[in-house]
């Protein structure tokens, strides 16, 4: 007997990403996050009567780069449409978006290192639209407060095919997408600033007769603003749908919301779903023809994408996949790494240093690498001192910390403070001779087989050099001198 095949999750995502423009999409207002409410507004983004949109060319350029980063085909001719609905934070009563002809069609994002297999998530389309404002409901006063600062900020909406097969895979996709968008310079993707928001489409499917699929009715969970919420909401939906199958309850195609605190999704009011957006071409904006030269130029501006870069870091620098992934996920770390290697640093030492010292500092302070006065050349020079045994790892950390604080070149710090280890054999041998002569008893004990006596003699060398002798080397030279000495005797 052959049982029915197992149900598996089928997940598609719609991701809204705020593009990193200085000004809004259709007016000159600043797109900065966190300004006092309603300070970045003008007649256009407030939808005052008589106002008209004028497109920010940079938003279009970043949209094109975003589309290229996910492998989309940028359309030669596109237009905007109006998406009509009433909401207090939507001042025109419509959102300028794209519908029939989006910015780009197709593309894919490849996830490697996911459950030990390479997974491809196809991209259906990328389109541009403007963000809405923000409503805050005050339970205290019963008022709704509106802030239009976000209103008109340019967004790219990326729609995937339903190619993800587990909540973890959906999360891995989002992490990869975030890395892609950051590397492409399309968005800083600051989650706390709401720069990435996600809607998920979910159902359980299994193969059915023929080549078809059968499954539960689709749930759409709207407006998730962290990767964790996406994963948790999906995990909740997986068990909800499984239970429905087990219990034989029918599910309905519906929009749901995620309750972060209770960890559950709940159905939206049926009214919220009954939208007929009445899209039609935006008559205030003529259709846009994308100059092929511009599209090509912008595509060339998209740097090496994370997956290729990870692969190259593994092959070219012999890094492990953890290190490669960790470096590449932060483009500025990866760039710093490559420059340090180009300046002569050992790749593995550089990776360890950057993922340890540098990343640790950035995480602790919230600084960006660009804010720090250190350069890859400084790091390369410092690491070669360590590699040559000229300074100890602890010393290196000290002078690096100083460099991070003050911008002082760590190598000069070493030179000037005399921190450089005495690793010169001739210098050390002279000191070793002195110490042996001054401590004949200890020398005697050692040659008689008392290993412990050597520690005392090394300590004497260190004392003479105020700690600057390379202890390893002092040890070696002492052994050699004592052995030779005993031969002579």
């Amino acid at each position: 007997m052959t049982g029915s095949p197992e149900y598996r999750p089928m997940i598609g995502l719609e991701i809204h990403v705020a593009l990193a423009t200085r000004s809004k999409m259709f007016c000159g207002c600043s797109a900065e996050f966190g300004a006092p409410p309603n300070t970045n507004v003008c007649p256009v983004c407030l939808g005052l009567p008589g106002s008209l949109p004028a497109i920010n060319a940079r938003a279009l350029e970043l949209g094109i780069m975003c589309a290229r980063a996910v492998g989309g085909q940028v359309q030669a001719r596109m237009h905007f449409e109006r998406k009509n609905y009433h909401y207090p934070d939507l001042p025109k009563g419509y959102q300028i978006s794209q519908y029939a002809v989006p910015l780009a069609i197709g593309g894919e994002v490849v996830l490697d290192d996911v459950e030990d297999a390479e997974r491809r998530v196809r991209i259906r389309r990328v389109h541009l639209e403007e963000d809405a404002g923000k409503s805050t409901h005050s339970a205290e006063t019963g008022h709704t407060l509106l802030d239009f600062n976000r209103c008109g900020v340019p967004l790219a909406e990326i729609v995937t095919e339903p190619d993800m097969r587990s909540p973890g895979e959906a999360r891995a996709f989002l992490e990869e997408l975030r890395a892609l968008l950051r590397v492409a310079g399309v968005s800083e993707v600051r989650m706390e600033a709401g720069e990435l928001r996600c809607d998920v489409n979910f159902n359980l499917v299994r193969s059915a007769a023929g080549d078809g699929l059968e499954g539960t009715e689709i749930s759409e969970v709207k407006n998730l603003n962290s990767f964790r919420s996406v994963q948790r909401a999906l995990e909740y939906e997986v068990s909800r749908h499984r239970e429905a199958i087990r219990g034989g309850e029918p599910l309905v195609h519906e929009t749901r919301h995620w309750d972060e605190e209770r960890g559950i999704t709940y159905a939206a009011r049926s009214k919220e779903e009954a939208h007929d957006y009445r899209y039609f071409p935006e008559p205030d904006l003529p259709p846009i023809s994308v100059d092929p030269d511009l599209a090509q130029y912008l595509a060339a501006q998209v740097p090496e994408l994370p997956r290729a870069r990870r692969r190259r870091f593994r092959n070219e620098f012999d890094l492990g996949s953890y290190d490669a992934r960790a470096l590449v996920s932060e483009a500025e770390l990866a760039d710093f790494f490559e420059e340090a290697v180009a300046e002569g640093a050992d790749p593995k030492d550089a990776a360890n240093w950057i993922l340890g010292e540098v990343r640790g500092h950035l995480n602790a302070t919230g600084d960006s690498l660009a804010d720090l006065p250190v350069t890859p050349r400084m790091l390369a020079a410092l690491l070669s001192l360590v590699a040559a045994g000229e300074i100890s790892g602890t010393m290196a950390k000290d002078v690096w910390s100083e460099a991070v604080e003050t911008g002082r070149d760590p190598v000069s710090s070493v030179e000037e403070s005399g921190l450089r280890q005495i690793s010169d054999e001739e210098t050390l041998d002279a000191l070793v001779e002195e110490v042996i002569e001054e401590n004949p008893d200890a020398a005697e004990e050692f040659t008689a087989g008392k290993e412990k006596a050597l520690g005392f003699l090394v300590g004497q060398v260190m004392k003479k050099t105020r700690g600057q002798a390379n202890p390893q080397l002092a040890n070696e030279r002492l052994r050699k001198a004592l052995r030779n000495g005993s031969d002579h005797r």
Binding site: P49, G50, L52, A54, I55, K92, G93, R278, P283, D284
Partner: protein, 481 residues
């Protein structure tokens, strides 16, 4: 008080020559408004210009603007309850341009609410009357601007034209009104009715006055993405004033559909007589056929209403204008819009919403947009052979107040001849072509895109050999002494 010259050109010359001061000009205009507008109802707000005039080609010229053009110094209401006390924080580009040229705004004019109508009876404030016969309408929707110019209260006014809203009232009031090529005049600050059709233009006593205003109004504005660089910007008056004796070699088509059933035969006769005048000036005049004209009205009412349903969505009581007392947000929308909008506006919002709705979009909006393109191509083909087309402006002379208010379709017919120019984005002018009884009748000259200067010059030539534009209506406030 010195004589108040009837044309904008004469008035600006008088001021320039020191025969009159800009203060006297403004005072004369305001006095005429004060004295006559109680009967006419052309103005919604009136006020002394605050700032002294700037030195420019319109220095000291008092003018009026339709109340759908945003003005910082006057309320801008679209003659609607929903914007009853609304004063915008900025001037429309067209208004700012007039100010920079030295013109001074003395008032805002009445109109059909949100420019939806052909008689000014849809004004949410009050009707406007026709200075030729106070029982009759001035046309619409720029009826206040037309009546104010016709009655001599201002020498020049700005209007807007979405389906004939400058030309049809110009015809009813016996003046000259120009709808420029789409994109010539920035729409920034024009409260939109149908964005793909709306265009600002001048209403004056003569084609020259319209050309003078066009020199100020026309220009590319980065704030309006549909605005264009017009090759004749700043040269319209010069083109109109050029010494020309004849129209030799100019080919003018008379499309049969504009002279057929539905057009008052007396009106058609006026247009044919005007054609004969142009022929006498040397033009080659021929009858042609534009069969798709038949679809103009239904296509227009689908497309214009669809755009309007979206353009008017922002009037929701949340940020400005009327806010009705309400229990929750949906109630706020319902009551504010229910109380604030008049019947015709609601009718078009519903019509347009329907045309864009799922299940009807393809059959109504998409099909109408396709027919629009076919009509545009038909006109483009005609302009390969003919320089201009001459038609009546409106099927009838001014009708009586209340005559058509119960029958929206009869009202819509008033725009039959003017709609195609908006659909195609081409320039068109209406100028006085004669009389039917005691009422003035306008004729319309249309040309291909960017032929604005040629149209103005042709209309000017007509006005050099005719006197219809010099006849004054019984209610006349100019030349007061």
């Amino acid at each position: 008080m010195p004589e108040y010259p009837a044309t904008a050109l004469a008035l600006t010359e008088a001021i320039r020559d020191g025969e009159m001061t800009s203060e006297e000009a403004a005072a004369a205009s305001l006095a005429a408004i004060e004295r006559f507008d109680g009967r006419l109802g052309a103005f919604l707000s009136v006020g002394d210009p605050v700032d002294p005039p700037v030195d420019g080609i319109l220095r000291g010229l008092p003018y009026a603007a339709k109340d759908n053009l945003c003005t910082r110094d006057f309320p801008t209401t679209c003659a609607s309850g929903i914007l009853a006390d609304y004063t915008p924080p900025y001037d429309a580009t067209a208004i700012a341009g007039m100010t920079r040229a030295g013109a001074r705004l003395v008032g805002k004019t009445n109109m059909d609410e949100f420019a939806m109508g052909s008689s000014n009876e849809n004004s949410g404030i009050k009707p406007t009357r026709n200075p030729w016969d106070l029982q009759r309408v001035p046309g619409g929707s720029s009826g206040g601007s037309a009546a104010a110019v016709a009655a001599g209260l201002v020498p020049l006014a700005l209007g807007t034209d979405t389906g004939g809203s400058i030309r049809q009232p110009a015809s009813f009031c016996g003046i000259t009104g120009m709808k420029p090529t789409y994109g010539s005049v920035s729409r920034l600050g024009l409260i939109a009715f149908a964005s793909s059709l709306d265009q600002i233009g001048p209403l004056g006593r003569t084609a020259r006055d319209c050309a003078l205003a066009m020199d100020v109004l026309v220009g590319r504005d980065a704030g309006d993405s549909t605005s264009i660089e017009h090759p004749h910007a700043g040269q319209f008056l010069q083109a109109a004033l050029e010494e020309r004796e004849s129209l030799r070699g100019v080919r003018i088509g008379l499309p049969a559909e504009y002279y057929a059933e539905g057009i008052d035969p007396e009106v058609a006769r006026v247009a044919r007589r005007a054609a004969k005048t142009l022929e006498d000036l040397g033009a080659i005049v021929e009858e042609i056929s534009l069969p798709h004209t038949a679809y103009a009205l239904p296509v227009y009412y689908i497309l214009a209403s669809a755009e309007a349903s979206s353009n008017l969505a922002r009037f929701d009581g949340v940020r400005y204008g009327l806010r009705a007392a309400a229990d929750d947000i949906d109630d706020l929308y319902r009551r504010t819009r229910g109380e604030g909008f008049g019947e015709e506006v609601k009718r078009r919002i519903m019509l347009g919403t329907y045309a864009l709705s799922a299940g009807y979009y393809d059959d109504l909006y998409v099909k109408a947009a396709r027919v629009r393109r076919v009509m545009v191509r038909e006109l483009e083909e005609a302009f390969k052979v003919y320089d201009y087309l001459l038609t009546p402006t409106s099927p009838t002379p001014a009708f009586c107040l209340g005559e058509r208010t119960e029958d929206p379709l009869a009202m819509y017919m008033a725009d039959l001849c003017t709609i195609p120019a908006n659909m195609a984005g081409i320039p068109a002018i209406s100028f006085p072509g004669g009389f039917v009884g005691d009422l003035p009748v306008g004729v319309q000259l249309m040309g291909p895109r960017l032929s604005d200067a040629g149209i103005l010059a042709t209309a000017d030539l007509f006005q050099r050999v005719t006197d219809y534009h010099r006849v004054r209506p019984p209610l006349w406030g100019g030349d007061t002494s």
